[in-house]
Symmetry: none
Amino acid sequence: MTENRTPDSSRRSERSRRAIHDAALGLVGEVGYPKTTIEAIAARAGVGKQTIYRWWPSKAAVLLDAFVALGERTAGRAEGEPAPALPDTGDLAADLGTVLRATVDELNDPAFEAPTRALAAEGIVDPRLGAEFVEKLLAPSFELYAARLRAAQEAGQVRADADPRVALELLVGPVTHRWLLRTGPLTHDYADAIVDHVLRGLLPNP
Amino acid sequence: MTENRTPDSSRRSERSRRAIHDAALGLVGEVGYPKTTIEAIAARAGVGKQTIYRWWPSKAAVLLDAFVALGERTAGRAEGEPAPALPDTGDLAADLGTVLRATVDELNDPAFEAPTRALAAEGIVDPRLGAEFVEKLLAPSFELYAARLRAAQEAGQVRADADPRVALELLVGPVTHRWLLRTGPLTHDYADAIVDHVLRGLLPNP
Amino acid sequence: MTENRTPDSSRRSERSRRAIHDAALGLVGEVGYPKTTIEAIAARAGVGKQTIYRWWPSKAAVLLDAFVALGERTAGRAEGEPAPALPDTGDLAADLGTVLRATVDELNDPAFEAPTRALAAEGIVDPRLGAEFVEKLLAPSFELYAARLRAAQEAGQVRADADPRVALELLVGPVTHRWLLRTGPLTHDYADAIVDHVLRGLLPNP
Amino acid sequence: MTENRTPDSSRRSERSRRAIHDAALGLVGEVGYPKTTIEAIAARAGVGKQTIYRWWPSKAAVLLDAFVALGERTAGRAEGEPAPALPDTGDLAADLGTVLRATVDELNDPAFEAPTRALAAEGIVDPRLGAEFVEKLLAPSFELYAARLRAAQEAGQVRADADPRVALELLVGPVTHRWLLRTGPLTHDYADAIVDHVLRGLLPNP
DNA sequence: ACATAATCGAGACGGTACGTCAGGTCTTTTT
DNA sequence: AAAAAGACCTGACGTACCGTCTCGATTATGT
């Protein structure tokens, strides 16, 4: 009965897509995620509601797309994807510290905070969106951590029997935990402390 | 004009309170949190909507209350609060492993999953609720971890310069991270791996 | 599944009812029936849409109610209904002529024309509404015609074997026909001609 | 800016025209007039929406065209126009009765009822369409009545001072009145009664 | 023991947004 | 040049809930 016709994406209006992205980000920044309605996005974008419903399944999906596109634009990259590499000075502790501090800074950046929290919250409840959130926003940087750890492992700076995925989560888990639950201040010192503790546990057995 | 009268809680109907708790938990279990509306809770509880609005500020607050009460009831405790202590067999790794595995089991329990995720999600976005969520549901067990770690520290099993709060987050952070973001299977093995890594980092300097 | 709860009319807001009537009539007069939307009625009446949907099944039903109430208010009568009697001067032709001319005037009154046409049109397509339209707006006056004709019949001015319902339709049918289909000018002369022809056919057999 | 170009009707696709007619009639029969949408007509006819908008001003106009074409096809006539004559047996009452009964039968034919009512309703509200409706569907038969009455008048069977247009409306008005308003059963007996009454009023003065 | 006052169940109300539908315009590609 | 296809903006639909509000009908003290 209800036909699930998928629209012809080759005829999609690029103008509308961009306008919707911008409107979504603008509104979330100005009035917050919960008060950002699809109706308002459409109105601000000068677009029919149907044009949103045609291409996205939910408000959160719109915002996720917009956010990803924003990240790419901000990073200067085109909508294709090569992401920059994690520094490798040879000093593992310093390298991880640098990046974890950067992560902390980003989480503390008020411009990013609102939409990121909103998307994380939606993703927690909606597995589909959660997977997309992780894949598009988190996975890339996770992979960089893992790569750097593997390099260190090969250089003998890290125990051979350590799983880089687990190590990665030991670094990132506490930080996001503190950020999400607001159980304490999210500072560079905290990032350093995490790196310090974790690396102690990863040292090769003497 | 509109007086903001705070209701007289001594006249509060215990019957209604319980009915609302039950209705909220039932609905969240059956239709999920987003489709659980205040109107539906009121209807199922056989209660006027105003009775909910009188005593709770939001749907999430209702669920949080209901969930806390459920936890207490399940644990056999009265609505007062003494929480059981964390085991201390002298073997720190074993003790932490036991408890972290229990946490993993609870997070995997389908009955608890839906409401916990919903509350976590709301808490991420709403700081007030987040604080209450942490305070009522997480803080108690966090405190137990911290106590056990302090005991181990005093016994010389853990470096004197380690911060128990940080150590705690090293244990709990990765687990909740994996649970919230669904980045991997949440198993006993994973709990053990976390404990193993973290304790290595906490050993007294040789 | 879909509960058909009927609202409690004793709690109905009289204020809203009147405001909706006025808004409906105002809008139909100003922008015409097809461009009068339920949304606009609600907005102009300062009322939630649901309040309209709660009490009326359709836009046409709203207008019909409003129109009936208007008719009663205009006629000075309260919302109860005793309708005035048709004159009986003894001269049947004169009496019928008077009333049919009045009907013609009413049909030509621009204030009444738009809503009446709209309601008639809806009634033609929707039997339920049509019945209500006839019952509430037309039947009362029809009954007066019939009564006057019966009186004439008893006075021997009309054939005993004539059916007053049919006679009534002979008078009223051509007038409404011409009005609805705009097949010719709707004048007093036309009314007189109709009365003349019809009465010839109703004279007692010589 | 937007030119109001009138399309070149010589290049019009006959195939599409017929398909649109058929789709319109089919849909009105199946789902009723209000639920028959231009979009649905286009889809069923395998035609672009623009093709409809190019050639017709409104849904009602499409249906009217389709209905007229259907009537002509049904009557076996080509799309040109000669309409059959009304019988003249010399017995005016019998002749009019025959035709009025035929009219009654047509109005009672369920296949014709839905579209006719829909068109009549639209015509009541939209004068332009109303005129077309009368002109294309009603006027031809009206003219036949008028012709027959004129013949009778010349034969001295009808008063010389009677206006055939009025006489015609005396016959047709009550029937359509009853049909449109559903104020009573539309039977052959009713048709006969109307003819009887009307002819009494048309007899030459003794 | 009873009056008094608050809570309670119920649900109508003014609103906001939802997700859907169709209208009528426009563009792209095919015939 | 007209046609099939269908994306687009627009705007109304009817529904679902929101949070507020009034209405009797219970309570539940505190004099």
